[in-house]
């Protein structure tokens, strides 16, 4: 049983086999993501009841919170994949880690933008130096730093390993950043700007909310897998199966 699991995992670490077996995963996770998100967002944005204190403006939570969750989860995933790549020298882990950076960065940006849009009607301002906003901003900076480091390196292998180290340093630092920002904020900021303490959610809001989170995760999975597939084609142009695949893709057009 355990052996089978290990072997199954090892199959995923070969770029060629990954390229083949990830295709159905992408298909099914994107189908599921589209279906779940369609239900969750229609329910959340149209049918869920109006919130008692915030009126309709709370509805952005169905996009805001999933993207914020994802942006943090993806950073953790990048650090873990970087560690896997550094320790076991698995190239594919580096490819996937690299291609997760833009996804995580866009999720962080989406969380910040939706947060700003939500902040305007509820707090009366687009931006406050609140603890959570600030740590999300720092997270976005960390993503941008990783991407900049990748792009600065002439040899991509060096960029992979350098970015893995930076991601690991960042992931150790993230809890410290969060903790320090919370303290800084509570020292200096009047309590009026506290994040709205929503009352416990009613079930008619909770179900689409949880569905939206699952849908975002599935969409990110599909997106990450397909970006990693492209990265494989780009990074291993001399492998014979890659050339054959590229020929086939070219002739199909």
């Amino acid at each position: 049983m355990w052996q089978a699991l290990v072997r199954w995992f090892h199959r995923w670490t070969s770029p060629k086999i990954f390229y083949q077996i990830s295709r159905p995963w992408i298909f099914w996770s994107s189908v599921a993501a589209i279906a779940i998100l369609a239900v969750a967002l229609t329910w959340g944005l149209v049918f869920a009841p109006v919130e008692r204190l915030q009126g309709n403006s709370y509805r952005i939570i169905f996009i805001h919170v999933p993207s914020a969750f994802l942006s943090q989860a993806i950073y953790l995933a990048i650090a873990i994949m970087g560690l896997v790549g550094l320790v076991w020298r698995i190239k594919l882990a580096f490819y996937a880690a690299k291609q997760c950076i833009p996804i995580g960065a866009s999720m962080a940006l989406l969380a910040l933008v939706t947060g700003a849009i939500w902040g305007k009607p509820t707090w009366g301002t687009w931006w406050v130096w609140d603890a959570r906003l600030t740590s999300m901003l720092v997270l976005l900076f960390l993503y941008l730093g990783l991407w900049a480091l990748h792009n600065a390196m002439e040899r991509q292998e060096t960029g992979d390993r350098a970015a893995a180290i930076l991601a690991l340093v960042g992931v150790v630092n993230l809890p410290i950043i969060k903790f320090s920002v919370v303290w800084w904020n509570t020292l200096h900021q009047p309590a009026t700007l506290k994040l709205t303490q929503a009352p416990p959610m009613h079930i008619s809001m909770l179900i689409p909310f949880l569905m939206a989170i699952v849908g975002f995760y599935l969409a990110a999975l599909a997106w990450g897998l397909s970006r990693t597939r492209l990265e494989i084609l780009q990074r291993e142009p001399n492998a014979r199966w890659v050339r054959e695949e590229l020929d086939q893709l070219g002739s199909a057009r």
Partner: protein, 225 residues
């Protein structure tokens, strides 16, 4: 060779190299002086308002001055190949890095700290806060040198690493800025400030232990390349 002899040897070499390029040692100090004096011109010459932002301005400017000089920490050794020899030498590489970073702090962070009282007078910082400002700046610049060493090692193979280094390291430095400036501001507002200082000291200690190890990893990647 004993360990102390090794440490002394590396330190003497680093100091000698630094003092052969005396003009470069002045650059961070000039940067600090000039940028700080731009703030009254750009924001307001009113002393009351300047003193409110003095701590933050002094801290951020000192850090930038320190960070911009960090780019050269390993660059010349990397370019002439001596870094590779040093990493192969029969000395713990993390010790070597630690001594290098501390020496760098002695010739940049420490002078910046010693210069800060004069600049804090220009920004009308309450004078009783100056000793604490100097203490936090000393600890903060040391932490920055240690963390920045990681960034300098990651970017050592690049022709122009300076700006990238700032982009990589500054986000990691948010907690240090918060507790460093927090200690001084709390002292000025007559609030308890020892907790901030203790956390700042904890971060210095943690990075003294961990940062050299990571820096060695990063240097090995650059050297292998």
């Amino acid at each position: 060779m004993t360990l102390t002899a090794v440490i002394q040897g590396i330190m003497r070499r680093e100091l000698q190299l630094a003092f052969r390029r005396r003009a470069e040692l002045l650059n961070p100090l000039l940067f600090f002086l000039i940028v700080v004096s731009l703030f009254p011109i750009g924001v307001t010459p009113e002393l009351a308002r300047l003193s409110e932002m003095a701590v933050g301005v002094l801290w951020v400017t000192a850090l930038l001055a320190n960070l911009l000089s960090l780019d050269l920490l390993f660059r010349s050794d990397f370019d002439d190949g001596s870094l590779e020899q040093q990493l192969m030498a029969n000395v713990p590489a993390s010790l070597l890095v630690l001594v290098k970073v501390v020496t760098h702090w002695l010739v940049t962070g420490l002078p910046l700290t010693l210069m800060s009282p004069m600049l804090s007078l220009m920004l009308a910082l309450p004078s009783e806060a100056i000793p604490l400002l100097m203490l936090t700046l000393a600890l903060g610049t040391l932490t920055l040198s240690l963390l920045g060493g990681i960034g300098a090692a990651l970017t050592v193979g690049l022709r122009k690493g300076g700006l990238l280094l700032t982009v990589l390291i500054m986000p990691l430095f948010v907690p240090v800025i918060i507790f460093g400036t927090g200690a001084v501001s709390a002292f000025i507002d007559q609030l308890p400030w020892l907790g901030h200082l203790a956390l700042l000291a904890a971060m210095v200690t943690g990075s003294l232990v961990l940062a050299p190890l990571v820096t060695v990893l990063a240097l090995e990647i650059a050297v292998e390349d």
